[in-house]
Amino acid sequence: MKILVAVKRVIDYNVQVRVKEDNSGVVTDNVKMSTNPPDDNAVEEAVKIKESGKAKEIVAITVGEEKAQETVRKALAVGADRGIHVKVDGMIEPLAVSKILQKIVDKEKPDLVFMGKQAIDDDCNQTGQMLAALLNWPQATFASKIEVKDKTLEVTREVDEGLETIEVNVPAIITCDLRLNEPRYASLPNIMKAKKKPIEQINAADLGIDTKPRIDQIKVEEPPKRKAGIKVANVEELVQKLKNEAKVI
C-alpha cells in the first residue's frame, strides 16, 4: 500500500496570534510556524502502518509558499519516504488545495490519503471532504483509531454522540483527530538523514488549476474582550442575577 499524507504550515499553537492593525489578516512575519498539529498525527499514523508492514511507501505533500517545505522536511524526518511541494504564494482555499491534491493523487496513485481533520489557522475542516468528493472516494473523518484490514479500513470516528466505528473500502481519504496517536519526536540523526531525502517541487500554475480565492475576506477582528466577573454573596443572589440580569434561567 502507498499512503499520501498532506501537511500544512500554520502559526505555531503556542504563539499568541495578533490581528493586523488594518484588519486585513493576522501577523505572520517573524512568527514561529509549525506543522498543523493534527497533520502530525496523520504522518505518525502513516508511519505506524508502514512499520507494521502494511504500507510500502509514504509520500508527504504540502501546498504553500517556499517555506512550507519545512513541514514536508519534518514529515521526512519522522518516517515519510519522499516529499512533494506544490508551490503557491498567497492565500489558498480548501477547494484549490483539494483540486491540487486530486491531480497529485491521479499521478501518484496512492491507496490512502491521510491529513489532519482541520487546520488550526482557518479551521475550515473541508479539504479532506472536498477531495473525497472530487475523487469519488470513500472518506472517514475525525479518525481516532484506524485498523488496517484486507482491502478495507476500520475507523473509529470522534462524533458528537461519542464514538462511531465505520468500515471504508480502500482507496479512501482519512482525516485524523488529535486523539489518534502521540506523534514521535524528530530525532537529530533522522533530521540529518531527512535532509538527503528528495522533495519534488511543482508549481501550482503548471497543474493548470485556478487557485484564486472564491471568498472575499472583508475583515479580521479580535474576539471581544471578556468582561470581568463578579462575586455573589449567596445562592439567592446568584439565582436572582441569572434570572434577571443574564436572563438565562
Binding site: V15, D29, L188
Partner: protein
C-alpha cells in the same frame, strides 16, 4: 546507553549573533569545513531578546554588502534624548554632553531576533547545518581532558526522569573545536569556566536583568528613529539601572528596562520597577492609546574586561556573552559578540590548518578593536557601585575628559549573589497594582511570550538543597526568587499556614536570573526538552 555520533570540524552551541558569525566566517574562510550549529529554541531568533540599537561595524566586516543582501536593518537613529527622571519631573540632558560611546547617530534601531534569522539564512546558504530545537545539554571530554564535543538533550523523559514511549536519546556531536556561544550565563559555559578555572585572576562577573516590551503606539506619539534613555526614578540611588525607548518601524516602540543584579534590597522586584517606570508622565503619555504586543526578559553581562574569563581551553572556545563581551557604557553587545565570533573563526582556521594552539584566539582578540573598546569602557560600571551621582561624575571624567584612558582599573568586588542584605534590614517596597492598560502582571506578560514546555518532563530548574528556600532563604531574604524571576516561576504558597516552595518551570523564559542571583547559588538552570521556552517574534 549508546548514542549516535556525528563528527564535524566545528560544532557551535547557540544560534545568537556570536555563534552565527563564527559559522558564517568559518565558511567564508574555508567552504569545505563542516560546521554544525545547535540552538535550543524551536527556531533561530525565538530566544533572542535585545534592545537593540545596532552598531554595524562587525557586520560591515562580515557582509560588506549587507544592504544588498536585504539585512533587516532599516531604521537609522535620527534623534537622541537622555532623561533623568524624578518622581514627577524629568530633566533632559543635552546629547552633546553625553560621552561619545553613548552617541548613536550612526547606528540603527533593529530587532536582533530578526537579524539572527537573517544571519541564519546566510549561514545555511553557505552550507552551515543548523539544528534548532536541540539544546546541547552535556559537554563531552577526551581522555586527556580536552573538550571532545557536546551531546544533545534526551527527549521524551517524564517528571521522574523515566523514559516515555516517545523517548529519543540525545546524540553526540564530536568536533575538532567546539564553540560555546550560549549567551549570558550559558549553562555549559558556566561548567567550562569552573572546570578549566577560566576566571582565575579575574573579577567576579557582573550581570543585569533586561526587560523588553514592544508597543504599537498612536501615530502622534511615534517618531521613527528616536532613541531615548533614562536614568533615575523609579530606582533608588544605589541601584544601577535605566531604561531604553527606541522608536522602530511600523509605529512600534521597543521599550525596556535594565537593572544591575548587584541590587541590595531583597524586596526589590525588577519586573515591578519596570512596570512602575511606565507610569512616569514622560513615558505614559507616549504609551496611552497604544497596545503592548510583546514581552520578554533576559539576563545580560555587565562585568566588562575585568570579568572577562580566559576564552580558550583545549578543544573549545567561549565567545560572545557566554564569555562576556558586552560593552556596558555603550549599552551594546551585538557588534562585540559578532566580532568575537568572527575572530574565533579565524583562530579555528589557523588551529586546524597550521595546528596552532587555540590560545591564538586570545592573541587575535587582544589585538582587535573589541578589546580596545572594552578597555576604554572598563571603569564605567564599577564606578556606579559608589551610587548614581558619583558614578555619573566619574563617568564624565573618565569617558569625556580622558576617553577611557585613565591609568587605573576599578575592580568589581562582589558577585551578584553576594550583594543582598537581610530582608528585615531593608525597606519593603509597595508596588502599585497593574492597571492592565499601561502596567501588567507577570501572568499576562508571560502569556505574550508564547512560552511552553512539554508537561511531564523533568524540572529544568534544579535545587541543590530542596529544603533551603523555606528553611533559610525565606527567613533571611523573604525568598527573593518570587520577585527577581520575571516570569513568576517561583512562588511561596501556604498550605495550612505552612510555606511551600513551588517551581512553575513551564513558565520559564530562559533568562537565567535565578541561576545568577540566588543568594546561596542554590538554583541551577539546565536545558529543558528541545524547543521549550519562549517563542519571541521580533524581539
Amino acid at each position: 546507553m549508546s548514542r549516535e555520533v556525528m563528527e564535524y570540524d566545528v560544532v557551535i552551541v547557540g544560534g545568537g549573533p556570536s555563534g552565527l558569525s563564527t559559522a558564517i566566517k568559518l565558511k567564508q574562510l574555508n567552504p569545505d569545513i563542516n560546521v554544525c550549529l545547535l540552538e535550543k529554541a524551536s527556531e533561530i531568533g525565538a530566544h533572542i531578546l535585545s534592545g537593540n540599537v545596532f552598531e554595524t561595524r562587525a557586520l560591515d566586516e562580515l557582509f560588506p554588502n549587507w544592504k544588498e543582501l536585504k539585512a533587516p536593518i532599516q531604521t537609522k537613529v535620527s534623534k537622541e534624548k537622555f532623561l533623568f527622571l524624578g518622581k514627577e519631573k524629568s530633566l533632559s540632558w543635552p546629547t552633546w554632553l553625553l560621552p561619545k560611546v553613548q552617541q548613536n547617530h550612526k547606528n540603527y534601531i533593529i530587532s536582533l531576533a530578526n537579524l539572527c534569522r537573517w544571519l541564519a539564512e546566510q549561514a545555511e546558504a553557505l552550507g552551515v547545518e543548523i539544528f534548532p530545537g536541540f539544546p546541547a545539554s552535556e559537554i563531552l571530554y577526551n581522555d586527556d581532558g580536552s573538550v571532545k564535543g557536546v551531546a544533545t538533550q534526551d527527549m521524551g523523559l517524564d517528571k521522574e526522569g523515566n523514559k516515555k514511549d516517545s523517548f529519543e536519546p540525545g546524540m553526540e556531536l564530536h568536533a575538532k573545536v567546539t564553540v560555546f556561544a550560549e549567551g549570558c550565563r550559558g549553562h555549559l559555559g558556566k561548567e567550562l569556566i569552573k572546570k578549566f578555572d577560566l576566571s582565575k585572576g579575574k573579577d567576579p562577573q557582573q550581570y543585569g536583568i533586561g526587560f523588553k516590551e514592544i508597543w504599537e503606539v498612536n501615530e502622534k506619539n511615534h517618531e521613527e528613529g528616536l532613541v531615548m534613555h533614562t536614568a533615575g526614578w523609579p530606582l533608588d540611588k544605589n541601584t544601577y539601572g535605566g531604561s531604553f525607548v527606541y522608536h522602530a518601524q511600523n509605529k512600534q516602540v521597543y521599550l525596556g528596562y535594565v537593572i544591575g543584579l548587584d541590587y541590595q534590597n531583597p524586596h526589590l522586584s525588577p519586573f515591578d520597577e519596570f512596570q512602575r517606570f511606565k507610569t512616569h508622565t514622560a513615558i505614559k503619555k507616549m504609551l496611552e492609546g497604544g497596545k503592548r504586543i510583546s514581552y520578554g526578559a533576559r539576563a545580560l553581562i555587565e562585568g566588562g574586561l575585568q570579568s572577562l574569563p580566559k576564552m580558550y581551553m583545549p578543544g573549545a572556545l567561549l565567545i560572545g556573552c557566554d564569555a562576556g563581551t558586552l560593552n556596558m557604557p555603550k549599552i551594546k553587545g551585538s557588534h562585540t559578540a559578532m566580532k568575537s565570533g568572527m575572530i574565533a573563526a579565524e583562530a579555528i582556521i589557523d588551529h586546524i590548518k597550521e595546528s596552532k594552539n587555540l590560545s591564538v584566539y586570545e592573541e587575535k582578540f587582544n589585538n582587535s578593536w573589541v578589546y580596545k573598546e572594552l578597555h576604554k569602557a572598563r571603569n564605567v560600571k564599577p564606578s556606579f557601585s559608589w551610587g548614581l551621582i558619583l558614578g555619573i561624575i566619574f563617568t564624565g571624567i573618565d569617558q569625556i575628559l580622558f576617553r577611557g584612558k585613565l591609568p587605573f582599573t576599578l575592580r568589581h568586588k562582589h558577585a551578584d549573589h553576594e550583594t543582598l542584605k537581610m530582608a528585615d534590614k531593608m525597606p519593603k517596597i509597595d508596588y502599585p497594582k497593574p492597571d492592565n492598560i499601561i502596567t501588567f502582571d507577570k501572568t499576562s506578560s508571560v502569556y505574550l511570550t508564547g512560552t511552553n514546555h512539554t508537561d511531564n518532563q523533568p524540572v529544568h530548574l534544579k535545587l541543590k538543597d530542596p529544603e533551603l528556600p523555606i528553611k533559610y532563604t525565606l527567613d533571611k531574604y523573604d525568598e527573593p526568587a518570587q520577585r527577581y524571576c520575571p516570569a513568576g516561576v517561583y512562588e511561596v504558597q501556604y498550605e495550612n499556614d505552612l510555606p511551600k516552595f513551588v517551581i512553575n518551570s513551564q513558565n520559564c523564559i530562559h533568562c537565567k536570573t535565578c541561576d545568577i542571583k540566588e543568594p546561596s547559588q542554590n538554583i541551577t538552570w539546565v536545558t529543558p526538552e528541545g524547543g521549550g521556552g519562549p517563542k519571541y517574534g521580533n524581539m
